[in-house]
Symmetry: C2
Subunit: 350 residues, 2 copies
């Protein structure tokens, strides 16, 4: 009545369970005649090997995992009008990991952290995989600390919170510096404002430092802190834009946002106010989300290679699985400045 097991197959094929196991694990080590008999029996019975039993006995699952934050955007329901544009990081990372994992013979288990108890989430994933990647700030450091003692973990797109972990980040500093240089050097903007994230976001801070460096190099007045700090959402970006323009004194010629989401929000805010972008004020983001191409003007930004992030994550995991005690690795992936219309560059329009 219940699912057939190796025993059922073995009985039917007139062999031992060990042989059934071998047929699946190392077909070469079984006489082809015997093998066929087993396979036939298996098919007749509808036998499907139990991954759990396999995992338990062999102490390895053949699965890699990914934990990412719950980006669920409450006001972005499945209306036909939107829906596409909200492909976020996680999707691209998932694609990258899925592809790489497949190449390496692994399956991919994905899980977004519930608002409720992320603690639980990691454990859940950790127990089912041979190793996994975590998007920065998805999982409490302490949980990771514990788990990473038992299992390869690679930290993605964030600082190495735990020093014995492999980790991959993108060139936040350099990217923002390049973009800023473009704004100053090519467009001649010198009245710049930077909208950062909360101070706890190392990415946003690195971007700010890149911004500062470019400013200093160009002899542009440099603020010690971002002009505004916000939560890195569209709503907050919008608010930041208003705040910046309502500020006494001359408005900035260009506003650099620490991410695309905020920049898009700002675009809306500026449109509401009748401020023209990029003629009155230039706007830039950071990340390279697809939405940035769909807004008008298209958003100039720094593109993070998220797909590659996912691929590299798998490579790192696979390597660490093979050499558990090798020194922790730290990769920095290059980014690309995407010049689009919102900074004053001509829009390639597709």
């Amino acid at each position: 009545m219940s699912a057939p097991t190796v025993y059922d197959v073995a009985d039917r094929a007139g062999v031992s369970i060990a042989t059934v196991s071998r047929v699946y694990r190392s077909p070469g080590s079984v006489r082809s005649e015997t093998r066929d008999r087993v396979l036939k029996a298996a098919r007749a019975l509808g036998y499907v090997p139990s991954g759990s039993a396999r995992g338990l006995a062999s102490r390895s699952t053949g699965v890699l995992g990914l934990c990412f934050p719950d980006y669920a955007d409450p006001d972005a329901e499945d209306s036909p009008a939107n829906g596409d544009e909200e492909m976020l990081y996680s999707d691209e990372i998932i694609r990258g990991m899925e592809r790489a994992a497949r190449r390496r013979g692994y399956a991919l288990l994905i899980a977004a952290s519930l608002a409720g108890g992320p603690e639980n989430l990691v454990a859940e994933v950790a127990g089912r995989v041979d190793g996994f990647a975590v998007l920065a700030r998805t999982v409490p450091t302490e949980s990771l600390e514990v788990i990473s003692r038992r299992l390869p973990v690679v930290m993605l797109a964030g600082p190495r919170e735990i020093d014995h972990l492999d980790h991959i980040e993108v060139a936040n500093h350099d990217g923002q510096r390049e973009l800023t240089r473009h704004l100053i050097g090519d467009h001649g903007y010198r009245r710049l404002a930077f909208v950062g994230g909360e101070a706890v976001s190392p990415d946003a801070e690195a971007r700010f430092r890149g911004f500062r460096q470019a400013c200093e190099e160009a002899g542009v007045e440099v603020p010690g802190q971002p002009d505004v700090r916000a939560e890195m959402t569209q709503a907050e970006g919008r608010r930041a834009a208003h705040a910046l323009l309502d500020r006494p004194g001359e408005p900035p010629r260009a506003i650099l946002f620490a991410n695309d989401q905020m920049a898009v929000g700002a675009l809306h805010a500026l449109e509401e106010r009748g401020t023209r972008v990029p003629d009155d004020i230039a706007v830039t983001g950071f990340d390279g989300i697809p939405l940035g191409r769909l807004v008008r003007p298209a958003l100039t930004t720094v593109r993070q290679p998220m797909r590659r992030l996912g691929e590299e994550a798998v490579e790192l995991l696979v390597q660490r699985l093979a050499a558990p005690k090798r020194e922790p690795v730290s990769l920095v992936l290059p980014v690309t400045v995407m010049r689009r219309a919102s900074c004053g560059c001509p829009d390639p329009q597709l």
Copy 2:
């Protein structure tokens, strides 16, 4: 030296392994003092419950699966220029399933079918999950036949190849009929050409039938077969467009493609020939892929609710898990005609 188990935790906490298990499975059934002791020991040891052992003992994994075809597009590598636009079905379905699964307390295991041996793939997935969804034509019917005897399987976006399976499809027929009515009724086009898929694609066939019905209703001459059959890729769409225009006699006023990919290819072909879209020839697709919005002119199409497809898949699986012997369910999800520039409608330009 190896990973700590319930035994280690039990020892350290001075309880039995059963109690350790209970602390995780039903915390309420353990005195809070005992529970704390166990939790403390677990933390100290770096204990992570083994999903495999759990799965084996409880005969359920808490994981749902998704098998989809390997859409990997060889010429679409991770260049910064593209990359976004290739979000295909699978991504949206993954998102939908992930969200729904999370709500239901499941994790999601995803696996694309290798070009090589898909047979293996399903078994791999099937052995590790409580149930899974399959995108149509990803897995050989016979494998599914066998596996679905043991495990809930829901077929996505295709015909119910196996009659005892739950399945979800979209309103291919109705969608194409609506779109065709729009072309005939609102734009007055009457010289229509339809580019279908290979005859084995039930989706494409259903769309063609919808097309025919609308034509008949309007008294427009109806071909018994698609004007061209192609492989539903951009390259083939391009070829189909050329073929249609090189055909003797008057060229069609509008070309309806059975999917967006082909339509996009055609757009390129027409541009090459200097044929204006929609002025000389209108073009429409089917699916609603993001790329359709990025091309110029933006592609008029029929949007499939892929995200919802994923969500419904999870619901169906959860329901079937709860009631294994209920009658197989078959859902048809509604689609939406997206009127954009390529059919002659004004482009909302975002």
